[in-house]
């Protein structure tokens, strides 16, 4: 199935909106994290959120996850107003949240088990996913026995196995070494092409953002962060992350976003 074609089809009909933020504000006490934030994300879009440190990008993920509640404004996912934990979203945290007392297999099958799938079926699914992320011989290991890259693979299988429509990723690959990182990014893109989840991807690495996403949202420096720019990434798919930078158009886009990002980074630095 050529994914490109399907995407064109949906855009002709007008794709459904998966995530919609409407004048969202978030305050912790007197500290305003986000102010008047509004954007829509169509179903199946891969969106990268970039901005200077402390601009509240991670808070946006936590809001969509339902782990935080907005102080003002409304947040809809899949057309429904979100008022508790978002059951339609998987979340890949920066520091993986693997359960140290469960083996790789038990960790990956946890999602389906928690959602009521029988253990036998969940184990069957989990084995497929573990194989997909290349950890077939590691099923019975515990997280403490894995390398950083392997743990990330487990976290990826754990997040993807539930096949949820929304995927939230918070600097998911930034803790990895450069080679492992490029490898994981490509593997992830491959899996994503197949699942077609709507992705919100927080990163501080602009190159990673452009290489992976369909769209880049740029945030201003906090406090009271708001949206500064919204850029479409017109690069063809499927992509190889380490090769995208040679594709015509990449450099121009990078430069445009970077110039704007730099202003905000400087602003954040001065504060």
């Amino acid at each position: 199935m050529p994914p490109q074609k399907e995407k064109n089809l949906t855009s002709q009909i007008g794709p459904a909106i998966e995530v919609a933020l409407d004048s969202i504000a978030l305050r912790f006490g007197s500290y305003g994290v986000l102010t008047d934030l509004s954007f829509d994300i169509p179903r199946g879009q891969f969106v990268a959120l970039v901005g200077p440190t402390g601009c509240g990008k991670s808070s946006v993920l936590n809001l969509v996850a339902g782990l935080l509640k907005p102080s003002a404004g409304s947040l809809r996912t899949g057309g429904r107003l979100l008022d508790s934990i978002n059951r339609d979203a998987a979340y890949m945290l920066q520091q993986d949240g693997l359960l140290p007392w469960k083996s790789v297999l038990e960790n990956v099958m946890l999602g389906p088990v928690l959602r009521g799938t029988s253990k036998i079926q969940a184990a069957k699914d989990a084995k497929v996913w573990i194989e997909r992320v290349g950890l077939r011989d590691f099923e019975s290991r515990y997280p403490s026995q894995l390398s950083g890259g392997q743990r990330k693979r487990v976290a990826m299988a754990q997040a993807l196995i539930n096949r949820l429509p929304i995927l939230l990723m918070d600097e998911s690959f930034s803790a990895l070494d450069v080679q492992t990182r490029a490898l994981m990014e490509n593997e992830f893109l491959e899996l994503w092409q197949e699942l077609r989840a709507t992705v919100l991807f927080v990163t501080h690495d602009l190159e990673e953002a452009i290489a992976m996403a369909d769209r880049v949202l740029l945030f201003t420096a906090g406090p009271h962060a708001r949206l500064k720019g919204d850029y479409a990434v017109p690069l063809p798919r499927p992509r190889k992350v380490e090769e995208t930078r040679f594709i015509p158009g990449f450099a121009e886009l990078y430069e445009t976003v970077w110039r704007n990002l730099k202003e905000e980074v400087m602003a954040a630095y001065v504060r």
């Binding site: 996850a65 782990l67 934990i85 978002n86 059951r87 979203a89 998987a90 979340y91 945290l93 520091q95 993986d96 949240g97 693997l98 359960l99 140290p100 007392w101 469960k102 083996s103 946890l110 999602g111 928690l114 959602r115 515990y142 403490s144 026995q145 754990q158 539930n162």
Partner: protein, 267 residues
């Protein structure tokens, strides 16, 4: 540790024991120390052996095994109740910030109170049978386990909790898959101390007021100025503690295997 090293450690341990017991024995025989107070390993060892092997040798009309059984019963009673309630209350307060804030000063006061002074009250309240000893053991064990369970629930990694929530965990599932296993490491590390305290509760309780049990035997021997009887009772208690310790270690290994693997890998 390699097998050779372990054998070495064991050999030195044995040598230390022989030197200690031998010095005691000879010092007592040569009257460097007064055998009236310090007895003599050969004498109290023989006494303990006699208690354990001669079926006709009765203490207060019952065999030493009966007394041992009574003490063990009290110890296990205090231990099980203390651990059970400690885990439940620790868990509940760990989950509720409001109630832990409300109850905090009261728990601190109760914990600061030396619980052995409660022994007379338990005797008055519950009589001189097993129940007063179980209550004393309970009061000692409860706080140790409670604080550890509480801490285990509080110290659970926020990342893991959020991850489990996002994967679809309800509150009950969160308790079962995340909070309980997390608290388990803390609770298990407290069990070694708790077992000891459960035994303290049983023996001290018997020592104060009882009609049977090892503590009672020791107190009777003391009343008769029979140092050998006191030491023989202590010897049997020591063996009991060692056996129970092995049991707890075994349980710990089984229940937190994931951690054990981690430690042996990077040791």
């Amino acid at each position: 540790m390699s097998g050779e090293k372990r054998a070495h450690v064991l050999a030195v341990q044995m040598a230390l024991l022989v030197v200690f017991v031998g010095t005691w024995e000879w010092a007592s025989r040569l009257r460097w120390i007064d055998p009236f107070f310090f007895s003599q390993p050969s004498i109290f060892g023989g006494r303990a052996f006699q208690w354990l092997t001669e079926p006709g040798f009765l203490l207060g009309g019952r065999s030493v095994y009966h007394h041992l059984f009574v003490t063990m019963q009290e110890m296990i009673g205090g231990f099980v109740l203390g651990v059970g309630f400690g885990v439940i209350v620790g868990f509940a307060l760990g989950r509720s910030r409001f109630w832990s804030a409300v109850l905090n000063p009261y728990i601190q006061v109760l914990n600061a109170l030396p619980r052995l002074v409660l022994a007379p009250i338990f005797v008055l309240l519950l009589g001189i049978d097993e129940r007063s000893k179980i209550a004393l053991g309970f009061s000692l064990v409860f706080f140790i386990v409670f604080f550890n369970a509480y801490r285990g629930v509080r110290d659970v990694d926020r990342n893991i909790v959020n991850n489990a929530r996002m994967l679809g965990a309800s509150e009950a599932q969160l308790a079962r898959h995340v909070l309980l296993p997390s608290a388990m490491t803390w609770i298990l590390s407290s069990l070694h101390t708790s077992v000891g305290f459960a035994l303290v509760g049983a023996v001290v309780g018997e020592y104060l007021a009882a009609a049977q049990g090892l503590g009672w035997i020791i107190s009777q021997a003391q009343g008769n100025f029979d140092a050998a009887g006191v030491y023989a009772g202590m010897l049997i208690l020591c063996v009991v503690v060692i056996v129970v310790e092995f049991g707890v270690t075994w349980l710990e290994r089984r229940l937190i295997r994931w951690k054990d693997i981690n430690e042996t890998m990077f040791a």
